[in-house]
Symmetry: C2
Subunit: 402 residues, 2 copies
């Protein structure tokens, strides 16, 4: 079986852990598998390199930052190849130049365009374990690029697609996808399977164990993706296009406490008013999520929507500066809210989920301030201090224990 | 002027020193020079990477060791490019893949075969300072190689040759070539100029501030090479093919305390005996230097020669194992010797130097145990505890103070 495996920075954090990873790889190789292994930089390496750069140039060029950061993964793959050598397993490390991992030009946030497989296939034919630097590529100027957050996961899935691998395994420090955050919901349990779409929704909603870009890529090329722990032998969670029919209606409950609600009052009740408001935000790259528009009185209306906490300052500035131009009376940003979402591919064919959510929250005295639904998810906006309780109530309403 | 500059690991040892180097480069660039800058890894980086490797694999593959070590110089060039950016100087870092520095295949000890100049020239035309990783190359398998000791000096000279640079400057923590080690000979003084050949002899003889390979390369391509300090503004020493005629007979005195003398007694006095001895040592990669052969008695002879201290154990083993085969009676290794050499291009046309060396040493009561001469140098083997005294006496006999 041709397997692409990825180990994150914690999994290769020191010499002992690298040896541990090498033993796992040696076992899989001895079973006759072909292995392509993507590694992140060791533990805190990337943070240390960023600190060095900041000391020298607080506003360093992104091109040079990528050149600097790419060394981290190269150290990991070289050391891991040595560890495999010690175990008598032939192994070879390759960087983005050697594989020829072509990306777009955007330093710090590049995307793969094309990955050559010739060198990797050549090394696999020589029965070697191939270790590839995650998180990086080479652009059309022959410069090093990095992929941004979740980059090494994306490298693994992209390689699996290019090599038409049988399986892509993402090893991390959690042992799978849970129906909710176990720290908040004690009854949360690990899922054996989940669809790509469900995972995409969960990731967007704050359960981000896998970066969306890698899940999108896996979905696009139909790569079976497994998320499992590098510290235990637990089975992990398989991501695929469809999961078995007897499964639950809802696959997971996500909680996001990093949202704020913006309420804009006194907007002129005529065509284009709302459009001009949202257009202003879009042009300033502000993502908005749940929107509620209410007819007001005296020819005025009110619009509320949620934004990421990190964008609150920018939004405050934008609205203050454009109040007259947009013609509204006032606005307020509420930071004490949270978003609870339930996600499940089975919801499409089951109406009435929303009312069950209302019921669950009513039972524990939580007031719903806003609500939004899509084919496979329902999100509610509630008070932040009621979020954990709400999350547990919704989870236990829909997800039964094994 | 197109200048290739090299800064060693101490010169880029921390953020402050990198900023200092960047300021120097900015000044030279603002004067209108085209700059190609070769950097070593920061301070102890290479040692730390080697330690990490040893922890994981005491006997790591050289191919993977090169992949690991090459990250050190990449960190240096990226950080220095950032520091130049902060000073408003356009700069770009390039690694061996990007420049296309083709080397032989020998991991850990590769030699340059061909260096492409297209990318560097392109960046110079864009008025950028070009920062290139020292010490590394890429071989025909598209694998990273390193050049071994003195590698970054070699990178600088090789780049200067490929680019037909006007000058190659090697910045280090000494401010030039001295007529002797100033710690031993207080009257030692810095040379303004020295020929490539004199430098080659001095380097071999223990005054190793510049690696021989880089001097050989500079000589081959006639690159004017300047050695100067990154910490002071002193003029440094220029290496060239010929130096001005009014110069001194002797350009330097070198002292090497890391030699041992091997004396082999009772060798059969017939053709081939000595050959078989030296052939055995050559096949085991033992370099021998000064040789004295003395006719003995009873059809036997004695041969003495010097070896590097580091080879003593190997030689002891080889001679013990092959005593019967080679037919000699006994051998002894004397560790308490040293080699003092005087080097000077002017010696070729001045006979009688040897007798002046004898005179100088006789004056301070030093006994010469062995002597060897070549066109531009004379070496004497003496007792180690008399070495410093001998060095001062010979230096002051030939080299006058300014």
């Amino acid at each position: 079986m041709l397997i692409v495996r990825k180990y994150g920075g914690t999994s290769v954090g020191d010499a002992d852990r690298i040896r541990h990873v090498a033993r796992k790889l040696a076992a899989a190789w001895r079973e006759g598998n072909e292995l392509v292994v993507v590694l992140s930089a060791m533990g805190k390496t990337t943070d240390e390199l960023i600190a060095k750069a900041k000391e020298i140039a607080p506003d360093a060029s992104k091109r040079e930052m990528d050149m600097l950061l790419a060394t981290g993964e190269q150290i990991s793959v070289a050391l891991c190849a040595m560890a495999l050598g010690e175990l008598g397993v032939p192994a070879i490390s390759l960087n983005a130049f050697q594989v020829r991992m072509h990306t777009t030009s955007a330093y710090g946030n590049a995307r793969f365009k094309k990955i050559d497989t010739e060198r990797i296939r050549h090394e696999l034919e020589a029965k070697k374990v191939v270790l590839v630097t995650g998180f990086q590529g080479v652009n059309k100027y022959d410069d090093v690029t990095t992929l941004g957050r979740g980059g090494s996961d994306t490298t693994a899935v992209a390689l699996a697609a290019a090599l038409q691998a049988d399986l892509c395994e993402i090893y991390t420090d959690v042992d799978g996808i849970y129906t909710a955050d176990p720290r908040i919901v004690p009854t949360a349990r690990k899922l054996d399977e989940i669809t790509y779409d469900e995972m995409l929704n969960l990731a967007t909603l704050g359960a981000g164990v896998l970066h969306n870009r890698s899940v999108e890529l896996a979905k696009k090329y139909g790569i079976p993706l497994v998320l499992r722990s590098s510290l235990s032998d637990a089975e992990g969670t398989v991501l695929k296009e469809e999961v078995k029919v007897e499964r639950m209606l809802v696959s997971g409950v996500a909680l996001d406490k990093t949202v704020d609600r913006v309420s804009v009052a006194g907007i002129p009740d005529r065509p284009g008013s709302a459009f001009r408001l949202f257009d202003l935000l879009a042009r300033n790259r502000i993502n908005i999520d749940v929107i509620v528009q209410s007819a007001g009185h005296d020819g005025k209306q009110e619009i509320s929507f949620t934004i990421a906490e990190a964008d609150a300052q920018t939004v405050e500035k934008l609205l203050s500066e454009n109040r007259k131009k947009l013609g509204f009376d006032s606005f307020v940003i509420d930071r004490d809210i949270a978003k609870v979402s339930i996600v499940g591919a089975g919801m499409i064919s089951h109406p009435g989920i929303a009312s069950k959510v209302f019921e669950a929250l009513f039972n524990v005295g939580v007031n719903i301030e806003m609500i939004t639904t899509s084919e496979i998810r329902i999100s509610v906006i509630i008070a932040k201090d009621q979020a954990d309780r709400a999350c547990r109530a919704v989870h236990d309403m829909f997800i039964t224990e094994d």
